[in-house]
C-alpha cells in the first residue's frame, strides 16, 4: 500500500515526484462523500448495463448473477444511475447515519 502524502519523508519522494503505482488513488474511499445511495430492485432490472455506462465514478460492476451493482466504497450517490435506468429499477434513498 502506498504511503499517504502526510507520511512521506523527503527522502522517500520519487525522482520527479512520479507516481509509479497506477490507479493507487482507488484506495481513497469516495463513498464517504455520499449522503444518499442507490438501491437496486433486482425484480425490475433487465441487466442492460446502462447504469454502469453512465456512472461517473465508475463504481458499478456486474455481480455474480449478472446484475449491475454499485460498490458503495466509491459510490458518491449522485443518482445518475437511477435517473438513467430505463426500467426505474434504481431508487435513491437518504443515507442513515
Amino acid at each position: 500500500m502506498a504511503k499517504k502524502d502526510f507520511e512521506l519523508t523527503w527522502k522517500e519522494i520519487p525522482v520527479g515526484s512520479i507516481v509509479h503505482e497506477p490507479g493507487n488513488a482507488s484506495e481513497y474511499q469516495t463513498g464517504d462523500w455520499r449522503s444518499q445511495m442507490p438501491v437496486l430492485d433486482k425484480a425490475k432490472c433487465v441487466k442492460c448495463g446502462i447504469c454502469y455506462r453512465f456512472c461517473p465514478e465508475p463504481c458499478i460492476v456486474k455481480d455474480d448473477e449478472g446484475y449491475y451493482v454499485a460498490d458503495l466504497f466509491y459510490c458518491k450517490g449522485c443518482g445518475i444511475c437511477a435517473y438513467e435506468c430505463p426500467k426505474d429499477a434504481i431508487t435513491i434513498v437518504k443515507e442513515e447515519h
Partner: protein, 183 residues
Amino acid sequence: MLEVRLHGRGGQGAVTSAELVAEAAINEGKYAQAFPSFGPERRGAPVRAFIRVDDGPILLRNEIDEPDVVLVLDPTLIRVVNVTEGLKKGGIVILNTSKSIAEIKKEYGITAKVATVNATRIATENLGRPIANTTMMGALIKVTSVIAIESLQEAFGHRFGKLGEKNYKSCQMAFGETVMEGR
C-alpha cells in the same frame, strides 16, 4: 480565545457559515477570524472550516489543531470524520443529528461532551432544503454564547438578501432545540 472547527461537505456552505459567525462577531466589536481548510475540495467531499473569536487582536493564522468546539454540519459526516481529533480537554462536539446524545455517543464511541440538534429537519422546514449550515450556527451560539444570536440577523441579511430572514429563523429554532450534555 474560542477556537472552532467545522466539518461539512463541499457545496454545503461550511465556509460561508464560519464567515458569517466571524462577521457577526466583528460587528459586535469582537475580533474574529474565519477561514477554510485551504483545499481544492469538491461538492460532496468532506471539508473543514475554522473560526477564532477573541476580545483582542488575533495574531495566529495557522489551522486550528486543538479546537474548543467541533461542529459537524451534516449527519452523514459523523461516521466519516474523526470528530474529536485534537479536541481540547473539556471541549465539546456539536452534531447535526436526529439521534439522542446517548445514542450518538455510544454508536460512535465519543467520550467528549456532545451537543445535538436536528438541524437538517429544521432547515428543511424553514428553507425547504436540507442544507443545515446556517441553521447549525444557532447551535454553536447556544453552546458557546460566543456572539448574540441577533448579530447573525444582520450578517445573514447582508449575505442572503431576502433569504436572510428565513435562515435566521431556522437558526433561532436550532438555538432553541439544541440539547447539551451536562446542562
